[in-house]
């Protein structure tokens, strides 16, 4: 300490530094900048700015690879998120479609209070040159029996032809071994709608046994008739697509375009009970 006070240069320096620290701090506390700090700042700030620029550049070089990896990871995560959202959107659309179908089913159920329905999902579709058979996920365990009508929200699909414990096979309306009693809605003239090998290739079925004088035209709606013992009355079968005349049997033959979506049906309803015919 003795040496410190003998060194005049040091004493002066310490006094200056104390004064500078004191005044700078005091002025700074008042919200101003001291002249010394200001002067040094004016000179060094541009240098500081230049140095910052250089270090920014260097930092960019070192961090660019890291940034790339981070962005790559972020991109991957976003893609996964997008895929997940798309999947959810698809599910939502399916749910909407299902909701719409259920509403229509509900409409059918309300319309046919005399019927008991069992909803089923199409689990398989066996298709070959000769016939198409749908497999649904309900069977004898659920009270399904052979011959029960199968419909969708648009109309008749066919009938149950074979029943397992938890599954059933459905023969489509257009298959040659299928036939039901129907009527032309506008005049209630009855006939028989059946599958035909030739017509089924075009997705059609045929309406026969109509009286000669029956007024029928293309676009007429065909529904199940009250004379049918297999189907309840009034279910939509389809619309007349074309009309022909059989010179041998001397009767009209109408080609019916089924209203039900036979190719893409995935949810169907099996009518398990109406008018107690299965008891």
């Amino acid at each position: 300490m003795k040496n410190l006070f003998q060194n005049k240069f040091m004493v002066v320096l310490i006094v200056i530094s104390i004064l500078l620290v004191g005044t700078t701090s005091f002025i700074s506390a008042l919200g101003y900048t001291s002249y010394v700090r200001n002067a040094i700042g004016v000179v060094l700030t541009p240098i500081q700015e230049g140095a910052n620029f250089v270090f920014d550049g260097i930092e960019d070089i070192f961090t660019s690879d890291e940034d790339y990896k981070r962005l790559e990871k972020e991109n991957k995560e976003l893609k996964e998120k997008l895929a997940k959202q798309e999947e959810e959107l698809a599910k939502a659309q399916l749910a909407l479609e299902e909701n719409r179908q259920l509403k229509e089913y509900f409409g059918i159920k309300e319309e046919h209070t005399d019927c008991t329905f069992e909803n089923a999902t199409v689990t398989g579709r066996q298709s070959n040159t000769y016939n198409t058979v749908l497999t649904v996920n309900k069977g004898s365990y659920h009270g399904i029996k052979p011959g029960m009508p199968v419909i969708d929200n648009l109309g008749v699909i066919g009938c149950v032809s074979e029943v397992g414990l938890t599954w059933s096979k459905v023969t489509l309306l257009t298959e040659p071994d299928f036939s039901i009693g129907v009527s032309v809605e506008k005049n209630s003239e009855t006939g028989i709608c059946s599958g035909s090998f030739a017509a089924s290739k075009n997705g059609l079925c045929i309406l026969t046994h109509l009286p000669d004088e029956t007024e029928v035209s293309v676009g007429d709606r065909i529904v199940t008739s009250d004379s049918s013992t297999l189907f309840p009355k009034g279910l939509t079968v389809g619309k007349v697509e074309a009309i022909d005349y059989d010179t041998v049997s001397r009767e009209k033959i109408c080609y019916i375009k089924p209203s039900a979506d036979l190719k893409n049906a995935d949810s169907v309803m099996i009518i398990t009970d109406f008018k107690d015919i299965y008891e």
Binding site: N3, L4, N7, F9, M10, L13, I14, I16, S17, I18, L20, V21, T24, S25, S28, A29, V36, R37, N38, I40, G41, V43, L44, T45, I47, Q48, A51, N52, F55, E59
Partner: protein
């Protein structure tokens, strides 16, 4: 004051003035980019110590004062005791250097640096108390701020020594030619 002394002083002032400015710029632009456990090393203190041991207390104290003012001007607001701290540090290191043998000065530097870092830590503590009085958790302050700062500053003093010696090259050459001192 003869002509030779004044030329030597001018060269000293120029070299150490520039070095102080560079140290301050590096302190405020580079060091915050390379923190270790959140701590930012003090590179000026190593330079002050190096100059003190090799060039004596007057040069080191003057360097410390100017460097402290530069760091203050570029990176501090409010109350700052840095210029005073560096001035005293320069004096102490200069005294150590004066007492050390010519060949043992680097060893003296290595021995002094940890103590200086400790002093720097105490100074930081004082700064925290002044600026954040009443809002300090001393356990967290020591563990997460002061201790990493102490260790990091001690490590950084080695490359700082090299930088200072590099800047002293013109002074050393001039001295060898015998023209300035």
């Amino acid at each position: 004051m003869n002509k030779r002394f004044s030329l030597g002083s001018v060269l000293d002032i120029a070299v150490y003035g520039i070095l102080a400015a560079i140290m301050a710029v590096l302190q405020t632009t580079l060091m915050h980019r390379i923190p270790v456990y959140g701590a930012i090393a003090d590179i000026v203190i190593g330079a002050v110590c190096c100059i003190g041991i090799y060039r004596g207390e007057n040069t080191a104290a003057a360097f410390g004062l100017f460097a402290g003012l530069c760091v203050d001007a570029l990176g501090t607001t409010g109350v700052s005791l840095l210029p005073l701290f560096y001035t005293l540090t320069g004096y102490v290191c200069g005294r150590i250097g004066t007492n050390a043998r010519e060949g043992a000065r680097f060893t003296a530097y290595l021995i002094t640096v940890p103590f200086l870092c400790l002093a720097r830590t105490l100074f930081s503590l004082l700064n925290h108390i002044i600026n954040y009085f009443g809002d300090i958790d001393f356990g967290i302050l020591f563990l997460y701020i002061l201790l990493p700062e102490l260790l990091y500053t001690a490590v950084v003093c080695i490359p700082v020594f090299i930088i200072v010696k590099f800047f002293e090259i013109p002074v050393i050459i001039a001295r060898k030619r015998g023209g300035l001192y």
